[in-house]
Symmetry: C2
Subunit: 385 residues, 2 copies
């Protein structure tokens, strides 16, 4: 496996033979509901082919939007009007649209430190300047956020938006606490700043605690929330959704029309509507949670039983990632190179920092690795440390 | 049919009962190869499900890229290296990526007058300032382009790119002549400006004449060319491609990675590879050309036999559109309203102009209208004029 990412080679999740790769936060293809998806696509191509193969409405396929609204109402108790939700080609495309619509090259934005590295690269592509607010065990530190916003204000700068992954964050696995959520909204309200809540892991919850979304707590129409079928069904569908205040969603639909050429993936959307309307999504998520919870538990137990003193790690209540902090003096890049020799792969933490990189973190993605390989990989990593 | 476009309602191509709509440049769903696509998707979901449903390589599915390279070599005699082509979610998404990567908010760009209105809106969304160069019967007037570039240079402005639809243009149906193509490239070379060649209609050729693409004539690695399956198979696949100099394509792949979340539509791409590798695309395009050539011929004959003196129109050698010029004194918006009463629908020309709108043009899209309805619609339109 190349250390340097080669865009032409793309994702090579498994690595060379004999290796164990914690690199990519990919869903395990063994979990894909192939038979049910096959049936859904067969139905769509047979019964709704002309609709599925034509340009779709810019908001996305109506029945799938209605299914998502009903699901939010049922599971989160929130009532959404139809113009408050649209389909997207996944959360990355949603974020790309929001950057085009709600920011201009040269603008400042607020992100977490660490944050999802692909989002940070997207912000860079849009010419946005990211101010990174440290994350602790309760998520983004809202006290430090206020300090930073004050600093910016003194310089005449108002950020275009706050980008947060509040639940089972990529890369840290950390969840923003309920108290911090309220604090974050209060700050955003006082300063009149938009919040983008990237929430693609929320359904992969391994504990019973449920914290309300920023979107559901928002009283001032300033939160946009992303969801996605990539983690809960399959990334290849290229399908997600955006929820938010009606006015913003209408603007995004208009802008999406231009950049998507008319509606997010009608074929996938109509197939997913058929799949979801059969009641297949809910039991599938239950089975996914079993698979990934086991991997998380195995990983945390392996870390507990093997890691030397001075190494610490997060205990994610959901999602795909555990974030390791090395003891002082150990550099993540050195550890990565040493692990590579033993055919153990993961990402060093630096690309997840928009400002000062920390040389002391590793991201382990456990979603793609079978439990026995997790144990073997962590044992080898511990031996290096 | 609403006059004002409602983004939540989306495309309503057919209009109310009894109406004839020349509004949308949609492929006729009767042409969709439903049985063959069904077979292709069935094969993919059965045999390659885990690949098709996972994140794909950022360049797009390799075998489809290789098929497209082979097709370009066979049909246009041009040899492309693999890193010179990538897949996209259609030409609009390709253009969106290019705007993000090759321009910055506030930049100037060059477009044609008229040009595709959705592209013009996309440029506006990106904060780009479009300078519109008039199109005559040979395409963009390169003399006027030089004058305009001189004006800009005096003001210290160098445009980020020239956006052109040189072949069977939307909305005019006009094709840039061979001589003008060379002139355009010469100007771009002298001024060191990038050219974006939006070429999604090129396969729908109704005459034998074939003019080399700007991309094939380019000797200085400054032309990026878009293609799409939307017009030649089905828009719902959300799949197209981008060709260009290796360095630019590599940059686009990296930037696309962020905004697409990993590879254009793997499911559609693998299905299209299966479809194309069976040799199904070429005969399908032959049959499409018959369908659409007939509609063009019927439309041109109807215009010829019914339109009063003073009305003129383009004679497209391919594509989906005929562009009407009204006699002095007639306003396109008035004609549109009068036609609406008779349930005849089309677009007035104004949204196709980035700068001074002309109130004297109508765009007729003939791709979606059966021949007998074309005759009926034009007869009614002529009566109004």
């Amino acid at each position: 496996m190349k250390t340097k990412y080669d865009p032409l080679a793309g994702v090579q999740a498994a690595g060379p033979p004999g290796s164990i790769s914690f690199v990519y936060g990919l869903p395990d293809p063994e979990t894909f509901p192939l038979r049910e998806l096959h049936a859904a696509f067969e139905f769509v191509l047979k019964e709704k082919g002309e609709l599925a193969l034509q340009y779709g409405p810019n908001q996305g396929y109506g029945p799938l939007i209605d299914y998502l609204r009903e699901r939010i109402r049922r599971e989160e108790g929130q009532v959404l009007e139809r113009p408050q939700i649209m389909l997207s080609g996944g959360a990355s495309q949603a974020l790309d649209h929001c950057c085009s619509l709600f920011a201009r090259s040269g603008d400042s934005i607020i992100v977490e430190a660490p944050s999802y590295h692909e989002s940070l690269m997207l912000f860079k592509n849009h010419g946005l300047s990211a101010c990174a607010i440290p994350v602790d065990e309760d998520g983004m530190n809202t006290k430090l956020l206020e300090v930073r916003l004050n600093d910016l204000r003194v310089r005449g700068i108002k950020p275009s938006f706050i980008y947060t992954i509040p639940t089972y964050q990529n890369p840290s696995g950390i969840t923003l606490s309920g108290k911090r959520r309220k604090a974050l909204l209060k700050i955003a309200n006082e300063r009149d700043v938009l919040i983008i809540e990237d929430d693609v892991y929320c359904d992969l919850a391994y504990e019973d605690t449920k914290i309300p979304t920023l979107f559901s707590l928002d009283e001032e129409k300033r939160v946009i929330r992303f969801g996605s079928f990539s983690k809960i069904i399959a990334p290849g569908l290229r399908l997600g959704w955006i929820m938010g205040p009606e006015k913003m969603i209408r603007s995004l639909i208009r802008s999406g029309l231009r950049s998507m050429g008319g509606g997010a993936n009608p074929l996938s959307a109509i197939a997913m509507a058929a799949y979801c309307q059969k009641g297949l999504l809910e039991p599938h998520i239950v089975s996914l949670k079993q698979v990934y919870k086991e991997r998380r538990d195995v990983l945390l137990a392996a870390l507990e039983s093997t890691m030397p003193t001075g190494v610490s790690w997060t205990k994610p209540a959901g999602g795909f990632f555990v974030w390791i902090t090395l003891p002082p003096g150990r550099k993540s890049e050195d550890v990565k190179q040493a692990a590579k020799v033993k055919k153990i792969f993961f990402l060093a933490g630096d690309p997840f920092f928009a400002e000062q990189p920390s040389a002391q973190h590793l991201r382990l993605a456990f979603s793609y690795v079978p439990p026995d390989k997790i144990q073997e990989g962590i044992k080898k990593l511990a031996a290096i440390l």
